[in-house]
């Protein structure tokens, strides 16, 4: 039914045939652009800048911890640094890179659309983001937030002036995310090419489709919490201060009702990327297409029912602890389905270990490890023991660095040729991968042990018995930083000097690889028609209407100016 309707719609005169003339001035083309590809790259660049800044903060943390007595920064500055490091990595790096960056660039191409549903809104979403990032880092000037990225009251109520700045900055990022979520959801629902039914969508699109409602709903809930904290700090309106009748636990509920779904905002798009990369380099159809697709949605739905597992030590009633524990463990089922499907995709495939593939396989290993410690932590008795220790730090860095960041790196190596028309250096890339993998595991694996021994997180100085283990972690974290420097060097070098990529260097089958690299302003000369899901490598490509893409045939004519 879907196919029929859409074929009819694209017969002429619809949105797909309504093409605006390509902007000519530099400002409209590269700065205030409404082209989803440019906006995606803008997100990637801005996010990378924030990534470097937040990464430097991480290295200050690791350097401070080289010595049991610290000595690099004082305790208050240390608190500010890890708070801003966490906030920036979550809201300014991982979420914008995965949704705003890769989401914007890739998925409209994959569904055969000419742009997202609301290009102007897309531009607005992006331009809210850099000022918000500057506000967050600017909070150092007025005394940055110092209660961790979660900013629990009453500590955040007593925090320095920058805490209010933090609220405002995260609120703005939230507005940007909400608008992006609305935009993506409408685009996926309404702008697919004719014939692209839901079960023919590439899995990256499915991942974005599962993420968009999270962006839209969860982020709005966070906005309420942030607004309340801001009002309490600036105008003394009592929500969280227990001396005035408020409740600090309320903040935890409101915060985690957002922030647990946000965990899936940070990982689902990476799942989608892995699901694209693995079949491409195994030359094999993805195993369990529908299971992977539906498990994304299942994870997104279950993600709303588990927030209080972050609050087992906050005085949550025991009769509430059990359901939250069970729901949390249930999430392992759809996640496990994905992991087994990926492994089975590799099974018997003709595997080609490009850098992107290495990162994807590394992702499976490290993410699974982080996921398993997540199951540990969902068990109330274990959580009571490990809460607030380095075990938590280890867990979250395994899923965020070993999961989301690995996904981002894999995605960069995979889609860089499409964005720039040039390849990244594979040799440097492999060095990056191995150094990154060694550095990452060396830095975060010992933290499990350290946490079980009882070293608390968020401390500037610590018991000397942990000094050796901390020094090992710090040294490996420098290795990881070096790997990332190699990566950025590779990136900057390859933009100008990389090998020419051609339209489809990996032999991938999704729609974005069937058009020139970088794609034209209008994406497709003719909107293609889709006949099947893109993963069957034995069959010819399931598209028609792409014959002229790689020829000199003229592009579609812009609609008359109005």
């Amino acid at each position: 039914m879907q196919t029929h309707d859409q074929t009819e719609l694209h017969d002429g005169g619809g949105v797909a045939d309504h093409i605006h003339p390509e902007p000519q001035t530099f400002v409209r083309k590269y700065i205030f652009s409404i082209d989803h590809k440019i906006i995606g790259i803008q997100y990637l660049i801005t996010g990378s800048v924030f990534f470097v800044l937040a990464g430097l903060l991480a290295e200050v943390i690791r350097t401070q911890l080289m010595h049991a007595n610290g000595g690099v920064v004082d305790a208050n500055t240390y608190n500010e640094i890890y708070s801003v490091h966490g906030s920036a990595m979550v809201w300014l790096v991982v979420i914008p890179l995965l949704t705003g960056g890769f989401g914007n660039f890739v998925f409209p191409l994959q569904i055969g659309a000419r742009d997202v549903a609301f290009p102007w809104l897309n531009m607005l979403s992006f331009w809210i983001f850099p000022p918000a990032g500057l506000m967050l880092f600017g909070s150092f000037l007025m005394g940055a937030p110092a209660a961790g990225w979660t900013e629990y009251p009453p500590m955040s109520l007593q925090g320095q002036a920058g805490t209010s700045m933090w609220c405002a900055a995260i609120f703005l990022v939230g507005v940007s995310s909400t608008l992006t979520g609305i935009n993506f959801l409408v685009t996926i629902l309404k702008m697919r090419a004719p014939g692209m039914t839901f079960t023919r969508m590439p899995l990256f699109v499915w991942a974005q489709f599962a993420t968009a409602p999270l962006l839209m709903i969860a982020t709005t809930a966070l906005a309420a919490a942030l607004a309340a904290l801001f009002m309490e700090r600036q105008f003394g309106v009592p929500f969280f201060d227990p001396t005035k009748g408020g409740s600090p636990v309320l903040w935890q509920h409101m915060f985690w009702f957002y922030s647990h779904p946000a965990v899936y905002i940070m990982i689902l798009p990476a799942f989608g990327m892995i699901s694209e990369i693995l079949p491409t380099f195994s030359r094999k159809p993805i195993f369990g297409y529908k299971m992977i697709a539906f498990s994304s949605v299942a994870i997104a739905l279950l993600g709303f029912t588990v927030w209080a597992h972050h609050m087992f030590t906050s005085g949550l009633a025991p009769f509430l602890q059990l359901p939250f524990m069970i729901m949390t463990m249930l999430i392992a089922i759809p996640t496990g389905i994905k992991i087994f499907s990926w492994v089975t995709t590799l099974w018997g495939g003709k595997i080609r270990f490009t850098t992107a593939m290495l990162f994807a396989v590394g992702f499976i290993a490290t993410f699974t490890f982080g996921g398993i410690t997540g199951i540990f932590l969902s068990a109330v008795p274990f959580d009571l023991h490990a809460h607030g220790t380095y075990f938590i730090v280890a867990h979250l860095h395994y899923v965020l660095v070993g999961g989301s960041l690995m996904g981002i790196l894999a995605g960069t190596f995979f889609w860089f040729p499409k964005m720039t028309g040039r390849m990244m250096n594979e040799k440097l890339g492999k060095w990056t991968f191995w150094l990154f993998l060694i550095g990452m595991n060396g830095a975060f694996l010992p933290m499990h042990y350290q946490g079980l021994l009882g070293m608390p997180r968020r401390v500037a100085t610590y018991d000397p018995q942990f000094q050796t283990i901390n020094q090992i972690e710090s040294i490996f974290s420098y290795v990881m930083t070096f790997a990332l420097l190699l990566f950025f060097g590779n990136l900057l070098y390859s933009i100008r000097n990389g090998k020419k990529a051609g339209s489809n260097p990996w032999g991938a089958r999704t729609l974005e690889w069937q058009i020139p690299s970088p794609p034209h302003y209008y994406n497709f000369k003719h909107v293609p028609t889709v006949f099947a899901a893109p993963y069957d490598f034995a069959e010819p490509l399931p598209y028609t209407g792409l014959e002229e893409e790689l020829t000199d045939a003229p592009g579609p004519q812009p609609a008359s100016v109005h």
Partner: protein, 206 residues
């Protein structure tokens, strides 16, 4: 209620070009999703209010009386009435009764402004007579003024929006077939109404 005599013909197929139809679909979905996220925003604050109310030290806090139900019920009727007139404004537009549409829309705007006036009166009497303030009356003042203030802001924006729609339709921006702005305005106004049903119940009646 002269407006109640509108004849309904819901099987009329609008004749519009495909570009408009598709664009309208996109905008409609986008607008509905925006309303969903707005519902989540209100729900979060409502959750906060109910949570605080049930964990705090008794409700309403000592020294603060109940709110004035009679006046609030009266004021609610002003807002709910505006919802009805807005509904008929859109219906009249769909059937080409542009004069009745204008009457209904103007009535909606006036009723919306009256509601805001009523809320202003209520705020004034609370602050001046009962000394209940936003920041000085514990969780009661905080939740009440934050939620009703947020709602009042939405009503205010809605009144502005409807005024713009009135001016736009007077200048011929919309036609009998192409009137998405009016649909969006009606959706928004109904949303504001329905939120008030909830707020009225949880602040005045329980």
């Amino acid at each position: 209620m002269a407006v109640a005599s509108v004849s309904y013909d819901t099987h009329e197929e609008p004749v519009v070009d495909r570009l408009y139809a598709e664009t309208r679909d996109l905008r409609l979905q986008g607008f509905l999703l925006f309303l969903v996220s707005d519902v989540v925003l209100f729900s979060s604050f409502i959750f906060a209010y109910l949570y605080l109310r049930n964990t705090g030290q008794g409700f309403p806090p000592p020294g603060i009386g109940r709110l004035d139900v009679a006046f609030a019920a009266f004021n609610s009727m002003v807002l709910f009435g505006s919802g009805c007139t807005m509904h008929y404004a859109l219906e009249n537009w769909k059937h080409g009764n542009f004069n009745r549409y204008a009457t209904c829309l103007i009535a909606t705007i006036i009723l919306g402004a009256m509601f805001l006036g009523g809320q202003g009166y209520e705020y004034t009497s609370l602050i001046v007579r009962d000394h209940v303030t936003w920041s000085g009356s514990g969780i009661f003042g905080a939740s009440f003024f934050t939620l009703t203030g947020m709602h009042g802001l939405h009503v205010f924006l809605g009144v502005c929006y409807l005024t713009v729609l009135l001016l736009q339709s007077a200048h011929g921006v919309y036609t009998k077939q192409k009137f998405f702005g009016l649909t969006a305005g009606t959706l928004y106004w109904h949303f504001v109404d329905v939120i008030w049903v909830v707020l009225f119940s949880i602040f005045y009646l329980i």
